[in-house]
Structure formats: C-alpha cells, structure tokens
Amino acid sequence: MKTILKAATLALALGSSSLAMAEPIKIGLITTLSGGGAGLGVDTRDGFMLAIKQSGNKDITVITEDDAQKPELAVQIADKMIQSDQVDILTGIVWSNLLMAVVPGVVAQEKLYISTNAAPAALAGEKCDPLYFNAAYQNDNLHEAMGEYANKVYKKMFIMAPNYPAGKDSLTGFKRYFKGDVSKEIYTQVGQTDYAAEIAQIRASGADGVFAFLPGGMGIAFMKQYAQSGVKIPVIGPGFSFSQDVLPAIGDAALGAKASGQWAKDLDNAANKKFVPAFQAEYGRLPSIYAVQAYDAGQLIVAAAAKASIKDTAAFAAELKKADIQSPRGKFKFNTNRHPIQDIYVTEVVKDNGVLTNKIVEKIFTDHGDAYAKDCKK
C-alpha cells in the first residue's frame, strides 16, 4: 500500500511537473571575448548570465562564443548557432558593424535577435523587423542628450568623433538638439591613439566646451592626453566615453567629466539596489552600462518565457514587447520600433571610496524615444 501510494505521488509529481515545464529555450550569445574590445564583451556576457542565473529557470540554456570583433566570424557563428545548435534567440553583439552583418540573416531565418548594445539607425527605422529588439537604446540617444545639456551650459562647441558611421550618427545626434555654435567638427581616425593634433586645435578653437565621442581605448588615450595638455575647456561626451570599463584606465583625468547615460550605479530604484551588489558579489567588480543592458536583455527573455512558448515566435515577440521587467534603469518600455523609451540622465565622474564612478547629476530627457521610430512600419 505504502509503495503504491508512493508511486502514485511520484506519478502525480511527475505529471504536474511536466505540465508546468515550459519549452526549453536555447540562446546564442555572440560577443567579443578576445582582442582589444574584449572588456565590453565580458561585461555583456556577465550581465546577461546574471539575469539568467537569478531567474533560476532551468529550461534556458545559453551558448557563448567569441566573435573576435570580426563581422565575418560573427556571421559564421550566427549561422552555426541557428543551423547546427538550433538556438531560438541570438544576442550579445557589442559593435554596430557586426550587428548590421548578423541581424538580417537572423531575422530572415525567423529567429529573434535582442541587441544588448549596438543600435544603428538603419535597424531602428525603415529596416526595422518584428523579430529584432533593442534592449539598450538607439545609437543617437546619448548624443542627443548631450546636445540638449550643452544648450544650457555652452555657447560654442568643438565636436569630434571617429570617422565611421556611428561617429557620424553621433555628431548628427548631438547637432539635432544643440542650438549654439559649432566652432569646429572633426573626424578622427578609427582606433587612433594619439590626439595631440586634435588637442592643439581645441586649444586654438576658442570654444567653451568640447563634445567628444571616443569609445574604448580611444577615449582613454584622449582623456589622459587632454589632462596633460593644459587646456582647460571642459569635455563632455556620451556615456561610452566614461563607462565603468574604461574609467580605471583613464584615472583621475576623468574626474568631473559630464556624460549622458540611461543608467548610473547610484540610480535610486529598488531593482538597481538589488542589481549592483549582486553583480559585485558575483564578479568582484562594478558593473558597466554594457552589463546593465545585457542584464535587461536577459530579464526580457526570462519574463517572456514565463508567459509564451518560444515555439510560437510571434507570441513570444509580443510578450517581449510588453517588457514586463524591473530594470536597474527604472522605467523601461519599448517604442513602436522595439527600441527603448526611457529616461536619460547627465552624470558626472566622481570618486567614491577611492573608486572612480559615475554619479547622476540631473535628468535631461523623460521617456525619450528615438527619431527613427516613425519610419518603422513593421
């Protein structure tokens, strides 16, 4: 009798668990884990994995691979993940040029793509796709915010960015909101490491502010050299120029720099107060904005998986679009083109217990979308 009862409860338990069991979801995370840009990829991966781990959802598996920041390799890995590993969702690419290479193929094969960082204008506007989501921002957003901020503080700006599409988008975005004079607009070489020639021009320009979009190593080099040059004109930039992954390498030269961002470590909301210590406990360092964006991408998937089956791609995408998550950024929802509508802040680099970090100074945009959503008809 006892054994029969046991068997019955076991059967019941099995039955109920198989009822509750969701479809397994396979996620392909392609990001940069080798070479000079690996820092951003490592943060992306760690942020994403934290969200999956916290969910405790055992049906989700993640396959990670390194794209070495090469578009051709990223395309090859995406094909492999879709065709051979049978993943349902792809995510993780840091760079716009890699994303532009991968996304058309992914959505053509009817898989979902959730961007954790790159957000080129093309994919936000005419070429948007119902299966492509962006959990980060649209590329122009942070530059627009700095343009708006500069209106209050500066009259004549010297603006610079690397000579590639994201650089041109950056200066376009800045000028879309900045109403003052642009004393000079220069494009530097991609990967440039010496900015002496540009700094000399800043000195001679007579501008009262400098806007520089120089992500990664370029920003580190520029800020260190600028601090030594004796030029006192303040530098502002989008958040990438002063994000947590580069701040330690810039050092005190970054102190006081104003930047725009949709998140900072000290942002006052419950989700953020949970996220920052959790990330620190897990990885022993402060999270960067890349980690937050990837964390939210992970949360989005977890939230949608609770409501819809991945086998029904359209229903799953509809659940994703509801964005039912507690983001460390605070308010977060998707626009009609599946790019975020969120608040954007101005931050300042400060020293907190001997560690350089960004602190929020003011909110510059509330519920900010992007300029391309109206062109997205799909």
């Binding site: 080798s34 051709e72 090859q76 890995i77 051979s84 040029n97 532009m100 193929g105 599409p165 494009y187």
Partner: protein, 323 residues
C-alpha cells in the same frame, strides 16, 4: 600516378563529398563550413600564383579580396534600390556579371599596384603591397556611401543562371566549381611556357634577363592574374556572408591568406585547399572549445612553420622534387 596527384584527387573528392553527406544528415552548417573552405582556398589559389610560382610575397592581397567583395555588395545594393551608379550603370544580381566586374576592377587595381610595387623586391615588396592594401582599407572605412566601417549588407544572395543559389548545397557547388576552374587554371599556368618563365624568374632573375627575357612583364602578368582570381573569391565570400565590410580588406586578411598557403604547403597545387580546410576546421573546433582559441591557433601555426615544413601536403606527399 604520383603520390601527390592521388592526395590531390582524394582532397578534392572529400571536399565535394562532405556537403552531400551533411545534407543527408541535416547538418546544414557543415555545408556552410565547406563553402567557406572552398572560397578561402580559391582566394589563396589566386595568391599562390604570385607567391608560389612567382615568388612574389604579396602582403596586400586582402585589397583584391575586398574589392571583389565590394563589387558584389555594391552591384547588388544598386540592383535592389534601383538607383543607377556613377556613369549611369545599373546594378545587377547576376553572379556571372558580378564576377566579370570584380575581375576587371581587381585587374585594374592589380595593374596599378603591380606597376609600382614590382619595381621593388624582397621585403620591400612585402611592405609596399601592404601599404597599398592599407590605403584601400582606410578608404573603405571612411567612404560613407557604402556603409564605411559598418559595411554593406546583401539582402538576398546573387543569382546564378538556372540554380537556386539560396540553397546552401547549390551555393557550395557553385563555389566548388569556381575553385576547380581556378585550380585547373593555376595548373595550366604552371605547365605553360609562361609558367616556366615565371618560375625561372623566381629562381634566377639575372640569368633570365641575360637570355633576353624581361622579368617585369612576366611578373606583372602573374600579379594581375593572381589579383583577379582572388577577387572572384572575394565576391563569393560576400555572397556567402551576405555581407561585406572593410575587415575583408584588413592586413589580418592578407596575413590569413598567406597562412593558408604555408599551412597547406607552399608551391603545391592543392596547398591552398588543404590549408584552408585545416584552418577553417581548427578555427571552428578551437572556437567551440575555448575562448582562448587564438592562443592555441598561434601555437599550432608556429609548430607548422618550425617542424612541419612543406605544410599538410608536404607531410602527406613528401618533399617537392624541384625540377
């Protein structure tokens, strides 16, 4: 039959057989890998005409590879948008036309680079070809019309008459066919009078010059043919990825093409095929195993140069008998 000939035939048959088996087993991605091997092998076969036969170590063949890719990308972009290009030409989605344009463009570029570079020799030649490739690279990065660093997507793969090129196996067969044509061409050149003169120039320039043959036109011809073949591979590569970007033009790409040749066996007909196969398989396997795959790839490459001279074909077929 010579041992090397048998190995060559086996290699060619293997490369052809694998995608069919993969198709039967539903392993679509294996077909993509095989296609990648065929295309890279074609590019390296092109380089091998200059490098293996002519002894011209070009460290700038990425320029031709990338030009081929951009020709495919630009023509297809215009075919889609319907906008005419400069001089009023229409875009096209026909592979045959794309290849023809790629061959012409790379031929002209090769002629220009060759005329200047071939005045130099040895390490100067290596570096001046690199310099030209860097020029093209920076040009592509900063030229906004076709995507700059973001590159250019090809919405739908270009068409081949009578074949649905979107199906992986069909596209593989197209690439394989072109590779075979390239290999035959390369073998014919080697056996021809021109090929003999080219190899003679490599071995002893002074002697060739003293019997009244001028080395420059011979080398230039070889360089231009080599550029053209590599450009066709570039066009196919763009079609495979449905994407072209400046990274196809980077010096890493030039280095990789050289690596393929040495890995397979310098101066061997099928060296590029064996090299490409090994390289792609290694990249795939190591990439799946560890994120430090480049470290181990480096070790393997180093081991090949130091201890396995003559590359894969050399290991399998024994030493070349220099005739």
């Amino acid at each position: 039959m010579k041992r090397e000939t048998i190995i060559n035939l086996v290699l060619a048959a293997l490369l052809l057989a694998v995608p069919f088996i993969a198709q039967a087993m539903g392993q679509t991605f294996t077909i993509t890998l095989a296609t990648r091997i065929a295309i890279l092998a074609l590019a390296a076969t092109g380089l091998n005409i200059a490098l293996g036969l002519g002894g011209l170590v070009s460290f700038g063949h990425a320029a031709f590879f990338g030009v081929g890719g951009y020709v495919a990308g630009i023509l297809s972009a215009h075919a889609f948008s319907g906008e005419p290009m400069v001089l009023g030409f229409e875009g096209t989605r026909q592979m045959l036309i794309v290849w023809l344009v790629a061959i012409t463009a790379a031929g002209l570029l090769g002629l220009l680079i060759g005329v200047i570079s071939l005045r130099t020799s040895g390490v100067y030649f290596i570096m001046i070809t690199l310099a030209f490739a860097q020029m093209v690279y920076y040009f592509a990065i900063s030229w906004p019309a076709y995507g700059g660093e973001d590159g250019l997507s090809i919405a739908v793969r270009n068409q081949f008459p009578g074949v649905n090129s979107m199906r992986p196996l069909n596209f593989f067969l197209i690439c394989y066919g072109v590779l075979i044509v390239g290999l035959v061409l390369s073998a014919l050149i080697k056996a021809s009078r021109f090929g003999a003169a080219l190899q003679a120039v490599r071995q002893n320039e002074v002697r060739v010059a003293s019997i009244g043959i001028s080395p420059m036109p011979i080398r230039l011809t070889a360089f231009v043919i080599s550029a053209m073949l590599t450009a066709v591979a570039g066009a196919l590569f763009a079609d495979l990825n449905r994407f072209v970007s400046p990274s196809m033009l980077s010096w890493h790409m030039s280095g990789e093409l050289i690596v393929l040749i040495i890995l397979g066996g310098t101066g061997r007909l099928m060296g590029p095929v064996a090299g490409a196969a090994l390289y792609v398989i290694l990249e795939y396997l190591l990439g799946g195993l560890t994120e430090r795959w480049q470290f181990f790839l480096g070790l393997i490459l180093l081991g090949t140069v130091l201890f396995a001279r003559g590359g894969v074909i050399g290991l399998l077929a024994g030493k070349v008998r220099h005739g």
